[in-house]
Symmetry: C2
Subunit: 478 residues, 2 copies
Amino acid sequence: MTASTAKRKLFLGTFVHSKALSELEYLHDSAIAVDETGKIVAVDKDCGDLAKARETLLPRLGWNEADVEFVQSKDGEFFFPGFIDTHIHASQYPNAGIFGSSTLLDWLNTYTFPLESSLADPVKARRVYARVIRKTLAHGTTCAAYYATINVETTNLLADLCLTAGQRALVGRVCMDSALSPDFYKDASPEAGEEATRKCIAYIKQVDPNMDLVRPIITPRFAPACSAELMKRLGKLAEEENLPIQTHISENKNEIALVKELFPPAVLARATGDESLAKQHESTYAGVYDAFGLLTSRTILAHGVHLTPSELKLIADRGATISHCPCSNSSLASGAAPIRRLLLDHGIPVGLGTDVSGGYSASILEAAREAVLVSRHVCFNAPRDGERDKLSVEEVLWLATRGGARVVGLEGKVGAFEEGMEWDAQLVSLGRVVGEEGDGGMEDEVEGERGNVDVFGWESWPDRIAKRHICATQPNPT
Amino acid sequence: MTASTAKRKLFLGTFVHSKALSELEYLHDSAIAVDETGKIVAVDKDCGDLAKARETLLPRLGWNEADVEFVQSKDGEFFFPGFIDTHIHASQYPNAGIFGSSTLLDWLNTYTFPLESSLADPVKARRVYARVIRKTLAHGTTCAAYYATINVETTNLLADLCLTAGQRALVGRVCMDSALSPDFYKDASPEAGEEATRKCIAYIKQVDPNMDLVRPIITPRFAPACSAELMKRLGKLAEEENLPIQTHISENKNEIALVKELFPPAVLARATGDESLAKQHESTYAGVYDAFGLLTSRTILAHGVHLTPSELKLIADRGATISHCPCSNSSLASGAAPIRRLLLDHGIPVGLGTDVSGGYSASILEAAREAVLVSRHVCFNAPRDGERDKLSVEEVLWLATRGGARVVGLEGKVGAFEEGMEWDAQLVSLGRVVGEEGDGGMEDEVEGERGNVDVFGWESWPDRIAKRHICATQPNPT
């Protein structure tokens, strides 16, 4: 259910959304009115059914019942804001779930570059991109920040397919021109990389002129894959076009060492013509992006596992954001990002990313659960006061919705149920309650086998959310 | 599909099982013959279909086709040994997936003891136990080492239900009599604890005289919940009856400190009457169990996260085994167990446990995946040579089958497909391949939406196993 609705709609039933970082709000017997443009015009906590709506809400809105479509959540169902995947490589989807024993830099050469390169074939690209959109939507992702490949034609195809499927998306044509990139898969020059990016921007502006659903995003792959000149051009382009930026940062210790080696102060100074800036940044990973104008309040930095205090300060000062990708960070043995400290001590906006295919799953709920688990590893490895590193279920659901909305630049537009926001939601079923209190035996269970856990009926709403929403991460049938 | 088969059977198709710790064997176009007692009498790698079987295998076995039932795996299906859950609290199943922010000792008081206590009610117990058996079977668990509760009647009910469902099980009546146990849920005395355990043993011997499917297991909850006298009695009882033992060890640092405090050398010396032994064990957690005769080659120790070198040596010397429960260890922020080092450096047998409800899922595949991920946390926290801490997909599947078989005392009987073993298997479907190579678009996907990942058709068998078997952990429909 994304924004575009031809008709006024009234949703009735149970709504759950994040009120604050650590607080979910449960709106039972409530109503949300959505106008013909897809905007929420009323959230009514005292209007649980059609009769009440006729009596109070419709007259208040001045709506005729005949013009309104009604959608009622059933018993055991609730509306939840659509999830936001702040970091996903659409082009790597076929490799999701293939656990390598390698770490980041090997992984790219063995698994990633050959697959991405092969998606210059529009037939194969259509097959892969259609599937990843379908799967992420099935998992409740109504908005995704996608990396495509360096290929212009099939990057544009990804934008087309998102539009067709009604999935909100930031679509990035990947830029990479450095020696780290293989000969068979790289931009011929910084100019060529910029030019190709401009073509994708122009295309997306043409197919979605108001960028209601699909927006281009400037995508330097990551510093080691880009020349200084390419990053400089992309920084300027982002500013000129007022566009968001996505890239990777501080995922893995070897990668960090590589950035230091590739961009010593002298290189930064030469590239930027600003010696004092180059010196000041001391070739930190964040400093390199900042030197090229890539560290902005519209920048999504994936990972941020090993950021130094000075980098954290710089990122916070620029208002740049972090996409936390716990499934990937664990799979590739990158490390455990101290997310609660980023949020609370540094005030850095954070969302969740699946990072397919470094991450093994296209599900943001899977990322949410792993975020809970990884935060416990941060906790027991913290030198002191580890308890405050633990993310709660409420907090990871905030990251998956409101946190993500800030990261992709849609704060106040999606991620929650508030007047003035877009109606961007998923209908979640908790599944059948297993029998009823006092009932029993094996014979009463004929369905509801989906998922890892069962709801017995006596659980509180927060417990039900934890059990069925966080632990049972299979997709809804589409 | 568990042991009892009324008729001779011939299974045809693809079989996958662990050949060694790091090696899966893929038997395509093969046949496995199972006699009327459920035993594998032939594994034929050159017999892929019925015609070939008629020609070669049946004559060799001297079997008449009319007496044989044939089962052929379909395209995209394969037979895999049933999973073994070496540590699961059947009585805590309703709490699975409720993430607390607490750690072990709080968790017990808040979530666990009240629920376990309530299962003295046979109606409620039947409802919970029937469900956990059904769910674990749906997840491919054909054998489980269960903790029930202190209640005799409903522990016996759990054994009955396992028998009815055909699930192999070790069923443990929980023993706990110390001050740590709440007044509403404890054994009145060491004698009472022993007596109740004897009743459960007698009952199980009566309902399954040869212990083909269900066996009793001596279950002192964990050292802090038991008096020295109770543990001493249980150690003797296990020896006298030649029974397996299960308990917890070294899960959490506070718990370890508590054991040290509760069982100083003087207490051990008094309880065992053996001062030198007490001194020698220095009140380590493993030493406490050993002092009471509870550390044997039939002992399953759940967790073992923080074991010291001397404890590891003691455990290895006694031939005791570890149940690795990664979902639980992460959820409860207990720590990350260095499993590969236990296996390879210390030669300690290890299996996987879901540890419901410290663990959030009754799926051994979920535990397998988390074992992979947690091993990477061990890796990047290891002071040096961390690479060898990484568990591969092949290794966690070994833990889930052959490793588990050793832990529950069924080595050579279940866990693989070898002549002389029981036929104890699950039929796994890899699901529909997404279109075909060169095919494309959104329109060709009408089903196969289950799971987190898709198989595109070009993947190798090891990659398919990783994608669909490890990453898509929803249960098979029953």
